[in-house]
Symmetry: C2
Subunit: 227 residues, 2 copies
């Protein structure tokens, strides 16, 4: 089976709530569709700056709709998403640089093994997009990493290396890779089909994505038939 | 059955290609879902101006993605969409004011009877988004209307009244109604559920829409089980 498995890359940032929806759905489908899912921690602010895109929330009607759409989609997708009280401050002032560097560092250590990247991503999302907690301070990152099952000793080591040049560069190069695929926001999913990348933006193209990779979309709660 | 039919309003402009996708899908589902579909010709440029929204194509990566996504979606939805050669000129210089006034006039004449509005909308979309033909000149509008089965005499009459104040005002008031529902672009679908309007933007929320109105989404080509 593995020879024919299609590589599907998910470029995401824990700052992005639609990324959370896409992440949970693809993690659920990882064993339903014949895919090799690769989690790619990316910096949203780098994508927005690089593409010249503006946050949708700057248009008042779009902001109101997004709040509504997010709530409705999160319930339908069964993701416990709760918008932080001061979402503008959380997204545009505090940001996610350290958090995404931490995920990059774990991803680099665990090459090809994504269990801890998945767990840590979810813990970070639970902090910011469920409990309205900080994800910028070392203590916050440490707490999320411990909950994700990383040992205290390794957490301390990780918090040291997230400001090292190789980790900074790796997050930059992943973000650049997303840009090269045509990103202008996150999440972005790239399906590699017969050597050709097919890019999907957002968390509302799963049905089309399934069609493109020759699989079936059966809604946000599939039975993991290939488990 | 009719007592429990949910009113679903589609606000659209023939200038908008995603509106075409939404229009065809809802026309197909009109007899599959227990809904009373109401076609609401709206002016896209009015919505963009009123909401302060900017066309997505201004961000280069978004423009490239939209072209790709539109092609992929149109094939999946089986709508014969072909992008006009000079799409910026067609959308931002020529526009759709007369065409949407003509649809408004037919809609006003046929209150509650939407067959001709549906046919004429499709003919206009075929001109602009399939054959790259004009939709601004009286001869173009006339040709589309004749193809939609409207008599030559009535077409002449319609072309007279599209510059009358009541028709201008009606298109304005429909556009304002869409704004009041929170529009920032088109298509916008409003489902009236127990007296409460639920707004959906774009042509990628049908699965969620189905869930909200208690119906089932079975992909873009449903069998019309209630025909």
């Amino acid at each position: 089976m593995s020879a024919s498995r299609k590589v599907v890359e998910l470029f995401y940032d824990v700052l992005s709530p639609y990324s959370w929806l896409g992440f949970e759905v693809l993690c659920r489908y990882r064993n339903v569709w014949n895919i090799d899912l690769r989690l790619r921690p990316t910096l949203l602010s780098g994508i927005m700056q690089g593409s010249g895109n503006k946050p949708p929330g700057l248009v008042p009607n779009k902001f109101l709709y997004m709040a509504k759409d997010l709530g409705r989609s999160a319930r339908y997708f069964d993701v416990p998403l709760v918008t932080p009280a001061d979402v503008a401050h959380v997204m545009f002032v505090k940001g996610s640089l350290s958090a995404m560097r931490l995920l990059t560092a774990v991803s680099e250590k665990d090459l090809g093994q994504e269990t801890r990247v998945e767990k840590l991503s979810r813990e970070l999302w639970m902090r910011i997009w469920n409990r309205d907690e900080d994800i910028t301070q070392p203590a916050s990152l440490s707490e999320a990493a411990l909950k994700a099952g990383i040992s205290r000793q390794e957490v301390e080591e990780l918090l040291q290396i997230i400001t090292s040049q190789p980790i900074k560069d790796k997050l930059k190069s992943t973000t650049q890779e997303a840009m090269n695929h045509g990103a202008f926001g996150l999440p972005m999913t790239v399906c590699h089909i017969s050597g050709k990348p097919e890019m999907f933006f957002g968390s509302d193209r799963f049905e089309l994505m399934a069609h493109c990779i020759g699989e079936k979309w059966v809604g946000p709660q599939p039975m993991a038939s290939r488990l």
